[in-house]
Symmetry: C2
Subunit: 161 residues, 2 copies
Amino acid sequence: MYAIGQAAERTGIKATTIRFYEEEGLLAPPARTASGRRLYSDAEVRRLTFIRHGRALGFELDDIRSLLDLVDHPDDACDDANQIARRHLADVELRLAQLAALKIELSRLVRSCIGGKAAQCRVIEALADHAQCKSDHDSPQPKPRSRKKAQGRRRRRTARK
Amino acid sequence: MYAIGQAAERTGIKATTIRFYEEEGLLAPPARTASGRRLYSDAEVRRLTFIRHGRALGFELDDIRSLLDLVDHPDDACDDANQIARRHLADVELRLAQLAALKIELSRLVRSCIGGKAAQCRVIEALADHAQCKSDHDSPQPKPRSRKKAQGRRRRRTARK
DNA sequence: CTAGAAGTTCCAGTCGCTGGAGGATCAAGA
DNA sequence: TCTTGATCCTCCAGCGACTGGAACTTCTAG
């Protein structure tokens, strides 16, 4: 049996995240020591690894929930799993296409800069005038997992002078 | 001058989002009617359009804040704008590469399914055993803007039987 | 005059975590 | 035995970029 920190080390999932998964119901409440510390079995560590791979492949927690359900009921037909994967693949392909279009647009933008003042800046200009855009790019992206320190960021609902 | 609804229609940004941008400080508090309704000038509508294009190109609000700053100070050098765009482009390229790797992995996964029971399912199996993965895919993706109705989703902190 | 559309503010929820506060417990060394 | 420091516990707020609902007011057309 592993303490949460050991389980974290083995799976590459942070302890806080493991607790979060438990709360989300992806993991049954584990055994506890007399003092209340969580204890994980090998099976539970494998389950965590499964979740990690699912996440690494970009599946949402809801999808992973469904996939885990299949793990828990190995006699069910695996159609669901395949459908989830298919749906996800289609999604990834769409995003890929959008991102590719975006990249082209951005490259044009970056190449167009000739320095100088903002008033003449093509980047600024292009943003102001969408007619310059070739494609119908439609924001495919919220950032992945940005590791920003959130220093100095304007907080909502405060100090709007 | 436009009411918020008209500004929304002209820019393609929802009224709620326009208010949100105001609160975020991307837009100065607009003029108001005697009864307190917001009124937008053409210049403000253009500013909103600028924001929309920036978002469509995947810039974060913080980036757009900086870009708007340049719009407001047209005598500044546009180096900042170009740097922001460049940084963003690099980011997009990275994401593109990750997504491409992911697509390959997912395609393999989907193709591998031969039907049958979950116990024999290759999809499930592959997730359980990362050794089967070819690449070092590392989740590039939170979903773009999912238009889920949030029906039936398990809520946190409730009914964990 | 009245219905309904459109506006207002405020606040909670989304997704998948992350990190801090404030405390309890554990393992190892002096 | 004592003490330090690592690890654990629960609870809760925050991230980014919105979205939507409640409860209210105001505008507009018939």
